[in-house]
């Protein structure tokens, strides 16, 4: 029984079958990658996992509870944090404040009227945030405006904001999309570091094979809205079905 269980999920948009009978099980403390060519239904699947879309049929269970029909903040409070394709951070706030907010959300829940407390007096939370920034090598940038960070640092910060909540599941939506090779490698190193230093479950939606094979414990290949095959990376590489549906096509695409 995995921490995230997707069973028999179907989703149609008009005449288009975006997802067809998707079954997926993400085991605790593993990195599970979902790959597939463009239009395979990766984003639709992700949106079903975070409550943005509700599947026509099927169930999405997280930690024994259904996530369907829940709002994003409720899903986060269940223990799912999300990293976006383009980093979503609080641009007008400082780096430290960016990390403080998820700390408060974790401790105080979706809403608390803490208008007469002072941020600076919350020693425990401030320490935790500073520690987190240290962990991603951003401690010296704590007073910078988040909007003025480099793209790579923004990604780092977003990751820190998610990790500081100690989520049971970290969802990553193409975390290296649009990045230069050097930034991609930095992100891979960061993810490896995270994986090595803490117990965490990650689900990565990714297009870049390099990223997937250097991180994932298990890989699900999605094609035309249906999972083709699910296995460990070594087996996926040589799998004829995958070659045909994904690698072959993507190699053509690069020519």
């Amino acid at each position: 029984m995995g921490i995230l269980e997707v069973k028999g999920v179907n989703k149609r948009f008009g005449g288009l079958q975006a997802l067809g009978d998707v079954n997926l099980s993400v085991k605790e403390n593993t990195v599970h990658a979902i790959i597939g060519p463009n239009g395979a239904g990766k984003s639709t699947l992700l949106n079903c996992l975070v409550g943005k879309l509700i599947p026509d049929t099927g169930s999405v269970m997280f930690d024994g509870q259904s996530v369907l029909g829940r709002k994003p903040h409720e899903i986060n409070q269940m223990g799912i944090s999300r990293v976006f394709q383009t980093p979503e951070i609080f641009g007008d706030l400082t780096v430290l404040e960016n990390v403080l907010i998820p700390c408060f959300a974790k401790r105080d829940g979706a809403f608390r009227m803490h208008a007469f407390e002072t941020v600076a007096h919350e020693k425990e939370i401030v320490d935790r945030a500073l520690h987190m920034l240290d962990d991603v090598n951003m401690a010296e940038k704590r007073d910078m405006h988040a909007a003025s960070l480099s793209r790579g640092d923004k990604r780092r910060l977003e990751m820190a904001m998610c990790l500081v909540q100690e989520p049971k599941l970290l969802l990553l939506d193409e975390p290296t999309a649009g990045m230069a090779r050097a930034d991609t490698n930095n992100t891979i190193d960061l993810l490896r570091h995270i994986k090595a230093t803490r117990d965490i479950t990650m689900a990565i939606i990714e297009h870049d094979m390099h990223v997937v094979f250097s991180l994932a414990d298990r890989i699900t290949v999605l094609a035309q809205g249906t999972p083709l095959v699910e296995d460990v990376p070594e087996k996926i590489k040589g799998h004829p079905k995958v070659q045909e549906a994904y690698l072959g096509q993507s190699q053509h695409g690069h020519h």
Binding site: V50, K71, P72, H73, N76, Q77, S81, R82, F84, E88, I89, F90, G91, D92, L93, T94, L96, E97, L100, I101, P102, F104, A105, K106, D108, G109, A110, F111, R112, M113, H114, A115, F116, E117, T118, V119, A120, H121, E122, V126, L130, R142, D143, H145, M161, Q165
Partner: protein
């Protein structure tokens, strides 16, 4: 002190000092001098500084922090005024019950209007608040006349019940016998200072209002509000429900507006529907932006600036202009008077409009940003290479010096 760090305490103490010394500070010119018309140390105007300061401070908690631009806050101002006058009519001229009730009633109003309006954001939110305020205004003028006394405005009549009125009770607004319109005048070698009870009452409440807003700015709640302004998507995916946060901000700012409206009636026992018109909502927007939205002092400065100009500029007439330029040759004098004439007196709104445009175009951070730029200019001249630290007091966008 007061749950603030050393820097904020110093800042608060400066504000307290400035507020209490206002009757002296705003009277820099001797009565006999030709510049005496620029003095602003008379009770009526000083009360307005404090009251509209409160209004703008409250508006800033909503607009400055969350970025939700309400065009309907005048409705709460009106509600506050009507409440206080009704308490005069029913109980007595003691302002306390009315003020407490004005905060409660405007909070309830804000809760309902905010609950509905905050289901939308951006321009739609602005239009919704505008629609609610215009509805209140139109109703106050028409069918609600039994409550609002329509166009005449609500006031106290001799046949009103006033059940708590004793034989010796004051016949104008007072706080347990302290009559608001009473003043002490001190003549010090040509300088005339007026210390008005009403002003000091408003000033103490304004200081309290400012202190609360300072605490909110430094609180996790305030940080959440700023987060909402920056990125609601991230806010929601961080496990925070932005709706109750914005609603709380809306209600708080509505209470500030209600209190301000109540104070207006506490100084002058009248309430009229025109206080609820959308142009009055626009005025508080002007004050906040002009001073600097999202900064602590900005709204107060903006309110003071606009009320000062309104009172002083609108009093300048051609005679005064001529006396200013009298030292020049006649032709030039007349030319200058003609040139300045459209911008003063009745035309001061024109000056206000131009000023407001200039601020939005060149100084989106308002007067506070202007002062910052100037002070930075001086500082960078002094210490060329030194690291420039932004002053957190005047710049809430930077860290609220968490680790200090």
């Amino acid at each position: 002190m007061f749950g603030l760090n050393a820097k904020d305490t110093r800042f608060l103490l400066i504000v307290v000092f400035l507020t209490l010394a206002t009757p002296i500070l705003l009277q820099p010119f001797p009565e006999s001098s030709s510049l005496a018309q620029f003095n602003a140390g008379y009770p009526d105007l000083m009360q307005k500084f404090a009251i509209f300061g409160i209004f703008a401070i409250g508006f800033n908690i909503l607009f400055g922090l969350t970025g939700y631009l309400s065009f309907g806050h005048a409705a709460f101002l009106g509600v506050g005024s009507y409440t206080v006058v009704w308490m005069y009519k029913l109980l007595s001229y003691n302002i306390l019950p009315g003020l407490v009730l004005s905060i409660i009633i405007s909070a309830l109003f804000a809760l309902v209007i905010g609950f509905i309006s905050l289901r939308r954001s951006g321009i739609y939110f602005s239009i919704l608040t505008l629609a609610f305020a215009q509805m209140s205004y139109n109703l106050a003028y028409s069918v609600l006349t039994p409550i609002t006394n329509g166009e005449t405005g609500l006031q106290v009549y001799t046949n009103d019940p006033q059940v708590l009125m004793g034989a010796n009770s004051p016949t104008s607004p007072h706080l347990f016998g302290l009559v608001m319109r009473e003043s002490v005048q001190v003549d010090m070698g040509g300088w005339l200072f007026t210390f008005n009870i009403g002003y000091y009452f408003c000033a103490i409440i304004a200081i309290l209002a400012f202190y609360i807003s300072l605490r909110i700015f430094r609180s996790p709640f305030g940080m959440m509000l700023r987060a909402i302004k920056t990125n609601q998507t991230r806010m929601n995916y961080t496990g925070l429900n932005s709706r109750p946060y914005t609603l709380a901000a809306f209600v708080i700012s509505g209470m500030y507006a209600g209190l301000a409206g109540g104070l207006l009636a506490a100084m002058d026992p009248l309430a009229g529907a025109e206080r609820m018109q959308w142009t009055a909502s626009g005025e508080v927007v002007l004050m906040t932006i002009l001073g600097g939205a999202g900064t602590l002092m900005g709204p107060v400065l903006g309110a003071g600036f606009i009320k000062y100009c309104e009172n002083i500029f609108s009093k300048i007439n051609d005679g005064i202009l001529h006396s200013w330029f009298a030292f020049l040759p006649d032709g030039i004098e007349n030319f200058l008077v003609t040139l300045v004439h459209p911008f003063v007196g009745k035309g001061w709104h024109l000056t206000l409009g131009i000023l407001f445009m200039l601020v939005v175009i060149f100084l989106p951070g308002g007067l506070v940003e202007g002062f910052q730029r100037i002070s930075r200019l001086f500082r960078s001249k002094r210490v060329k290479d030194g690291p420039r630290r932004k002053d957190p007091e005047h710049h809430p966008k930077s860290a609220p010096h968490v680790a200090e």
